[in-house]
Symmetry: C2
Subunit: 153 residues, 2 copies
DNA sequence: TGAAGATGATTGACATGTCAAGCAGTTTGC
DNA sequence: GCAAACTGCTTGACATGTCAATCATCTTCA
């Protein structure tokens, strides 16, 4: 069953390229829903989880708010508000930078670190369950998607 | 520049599969932003545009509200409210079905049809500008994404 | 030095996405 | 028939995403 039947389109796609665009959008959406499960069952949204993973990678130094935004898909204002919530939940500490008082450094708390550790294996397992492709096909996919993103710049 | 640098991840991906998941999510997001331009410049959101395209495909008979939802990525409640707005703008007519009074048939209006026609070439052109891949690679991409979606069921 | 501009972050207003609950109308099975 | 279950759609409440505007703080450079 191709995407054509899958989204029950009556008319054929205008072009193979258009079909590809829609296929990428739909696949991403399906993936998002699938991946969200184990994260949301622990009271985090997928976006909050992503922030925490980035902050974990940053270590004890933490990161400025906008640096976190730069590593994510989200726009700036969304980060501020997500960070507010994570702070409320006790998963993030924020502190104004002393040398540049415009910046606010965000750091993951021990509680959040513990939670992430607990979730790691479930999430990693889910990724490999979800993407079951021969090595060659997987590499090709990564290459093609990168091509597309580059041509978007 | 790979996705690794692109999203400035400090640590490597846990697996190639995880990298693929993130690549699909990010590519979809980049695409969405790119494609939105010509649609939003005419006062429609991407979602409203999708609904109108589906209704155009359905012809003068129209479609029940939930049938439109089924052809889209959106969940049911979102459709009701998007349809409210399209009706307000005069782009959609709604009428309760006589034989099954639970259903509400939605039809595209002539005004919306004209608007869509005006937008068609711009959108189609954008798709082919955006996806610039050799034929073989394009076909492979479609096949791989379909594989992934099927394994999500 | 001090005014103009850049940068980091936040807020307001609004669009969309989602679940849970609810209502109206249909169907089913006794 | 008629109560129970199902279906189609809508609403409420809330999370997220986005733009534009704003505030505070640097930086630059005449």
């Amino acid at each position: 069953m191709g995407l054509l039947q899958e989204i029950k389109q009556t008319k054929p796609f205008a072009s193979r390229e258009q079909e590809a665009v829609l296929a990428i959008l739909k696949t991403a959406d399906d993936l998002r829903r699938r991946i969200a499960g184990p994260v949301e069952s622990r009271g985090l949204s997928l976006e909050q989880y992503n922030i925490l993973r980035i902050l974990r990678g940053a270590g004890t130094a933490g990161l400025p708010t906008l640096e976190v935004a730069a590593r994510m898909i989200e726009r700036t204002p969304a980060i501020t508000r997500l960070m507010d919530k994570l702070e409320q939940k006790g998963f993030v500490d924020r502190e104004r930078c002393l040398t540049d008082r415009r910046q606010v450094f965000c750091r993951i708390t021990p509680a959040a670190l513990a939670l992430l550790t607990e979730m790691d294996s479930a999430v990693i397992g889910l990724d490999s369950q979800t993407i079951q492709l021969p090595e060659v096909e997987l590499e090709q996919l990564l290459k093609t998607l990168q091509n597309i993103r580059e041509s978007l710049t």
